[in-house]
């Protein structure tokens, strides 16, 4: 963990803690209270958005492990989510496995598939890898729509609703708890991952792969592990979508999906877990907010309201570009600035 001005650890436990400072714990507790109270205050519309954010957070953390922390650019997020969703659904439909087992197996299957698609990363770097994953995305997309015997082609697959203790889990309220648990678990895992040898190796590969291999990081193993770990969570996000919507269609897992997730981690902050959450929230809320604005303008300015669906696409692009130009480290850095301002307030303090 980074050293901070004005913080003096006197015990090993506090030095090693994930959130050693009281202010951090208070913020976390406040956020936890908000998360616990939110579903009782919000209507189904906002709950649905919250569920989408929870799923997107899992997926964005997964992608961030690969892109933000290991520096391997992937345009195949949509394909991996598809593998997770389809295997979760098909395992239950064809083999009659309970949904929990299907989801767990789907994650493992996606992890294996992810390491397979990660194989080119051992030879290819940067933009060549990006193009290779783009091809993987297109090939999986084609398989989804044309391999009719397995995926049902362009027709949707209907998955039985998941049940836990007799409660249907795909209602917005019930799924909220499942989604939050999964997102929190993923975040906790990722936060700890980068304190381990493997996680540090990921970061070393990102920063300087040759130097990393010189100090004894096995590039082959590390990159494959990065692809596998990342895909595991991406598959989880896909499986969650399958069981939340109880319907699987290929349109949810196109190249556009990959781009949306990349936008999340760019806007949120590459190599940041809280950034993944911020980005997931912003990119999920943005279209919803624009749609709301459209409804509000329907009566006063119908021409503007009619243009808004297209403006949505343009605004998405504008947001990405503005962040890249003005704050390449994303929302996570902006939030960090706010915290740093108050860290040893009233004294000025700027971290690195």
């Amino acid at each position: 963990m980074s050293l901070e001005c004005g913080v003096f650890h006197t015990r090993y436990e506090s030095d090693m803690g994930l959130r050693p400072r009281p202010a951090q714990r208070i913020r976390l507790a406040a956020f936890a209270v908000f998360v616990l109270v939110f579903p009782f205050l919000a209507g189904p519309y906002w709950l649905d958005l919250a569920n989408q954010i929870a799923i997107a957070t899992v997926g964005a953390i997964g992608l961030n492990i690969l892109v933000g922390y290991t520096g391997q650019i992937s345009l195949g997020q949509g394909a991996f989510m598809a593998i997770g969703a389809y295997s979760a659904g098909l395992l239950t439909l064809n083999l009659g496995l309970p949904w929990g087992v299907s989801i767990a197996l789907a994650c493992v299957i996606t992890a294996v598939a992810g390491s397979f698609f990660g194989l080119p990363s051992l030879r290819l770097k940067g933009l060549y890898l990006a193009i290779a994953t783009l091809a993987a995305q297109e090939i999986v997309e084609w398989a989804m729509t044309h391999w009719t015997a397995v995926t049902g082609g362009t027709e949707a697959i209907v998955v039985p609703a998941p049940r836990l203790f007799g409660v249907r889990l795909n209602s917005t309220f019930a799924f909220y708890w499942f989604g939050v648990a999964m997102a929190a678990g993923t975040a906790l895992f990722a936060a700890n991952l980068f304190r381990t040898r493997m996680g540090r190796a990921f970061v070393a590969v990102r920063d300087q792969d040759i130097a990393a291999s010189v100090i004894g990081v096995n590039l082959f193993r590390t990159k494959l592990m990065a692809f596998a770990t990342s895909s595991f969570f991406v598959g989880l996000a896909g499986a969650m979508i399958a069981y939340y919507r109880t319907i699987i269609t290929w349109e949810r897992f196109t190249l556009d999906t990959s781009i949306v997730y990349l936008a999340m981690i760019i806007v949120g902050g590459l190599g940041s877990i809280r950034g993944s959450f911020f980005g997931a929230a912003l990119i999920t809320l943005l279209p919803a907010l624009i749609a709301n604005a459209g409804r509000a303008l329907q009566d006063t300015a119908p021409v503007v309201a009619g243009l808004l669906p297209y403006a949505q696409q343009a605004v998405f692009g504008v947001v990405i570009i503005l962040f890249l130009i003005f704050e390449p480290k994303g929302l996570s850095k902006l939030w960090g600035n706010v915290k740093d301002y108050f860290h040893v307030w009233p004294f000025a303090y700027r971290r690195g």
Partner: protein
Amino acid sequence: MDIFLQLTVSGLSTGMIYALAAAGFVVIYKASDVINFTQGDLLLLGTYLIFFAIGQIGLPWSLGVLVTVLLAVAVALAIERLVLRPLIGEPIISMIMVTIGLSSILRGLVNAIWGPAPRSFDSFLPEGSVVVGPAVLSTGRLLSIPIALAVLAALGLFFRHTRDGIAMRAIADDQQAALSMGISIPRVFGVAWALAAASAAIGGIMLAGVVGVSPNVASIGLRVFPVVILGGLDSIKGAVIGGAIIGLLEAYTGGYVGHGLNLVVPYGVLILVLMVRPYGLFGKEIIERV
């Protein structure tokens, strides 16, 4: 045999449109190392601008083509100046995402201005068809092949004989050395984007004549990747030959095999090339391996 001939012509004409888009991609990559995801949207812009110039304003076709190319170049110069210049030297992921963002903006704007429905106008390419033995070939498609080849040849000559073209090659070769010889990098990047936009706009104009005007055109942008990887990321010649090969492959698999396999074959080729010969047929043999 007549089917074969027809597939060959349609494959080649599609391939040449790919080649035009790919050439623009190559020019930008050569000059500034940016992989440009907006290439498909520049094509899209070209098809809608020609529709606007000829179908909506009613300009004669020669003037319409000129206006289209100039407008596309203006858009590209604005993109280069406003968005890409502040990002010179940023990591690859930023470059990829910034062009993806641009692509999203361009697509949103085109949809907002012209609507999502396909449009049609009187084609400026001659109607009718030529009968060669048993095969009936559309004149528009046949004609688009020499047009594209002429444009691509002009690009090649530009690189060989003009000051800006040589400056661009110098920058591609060694940016620092080029700088110290007094070559203005921003100017060269601007020229690269202008050329890419012009070449994509001509591709778009031909698409408008051959296929029609609709938002789906943008999806062709992704076909650029198999083409440039096969041909070599930094070779115009590679773009032409890669475009022809990918176009023909698509036409033949679509015609003889079916099952939508033509949609995925180019990407299969892409993976294969990356595994075996990542710099492509004509690319420079420097690829960083780990």
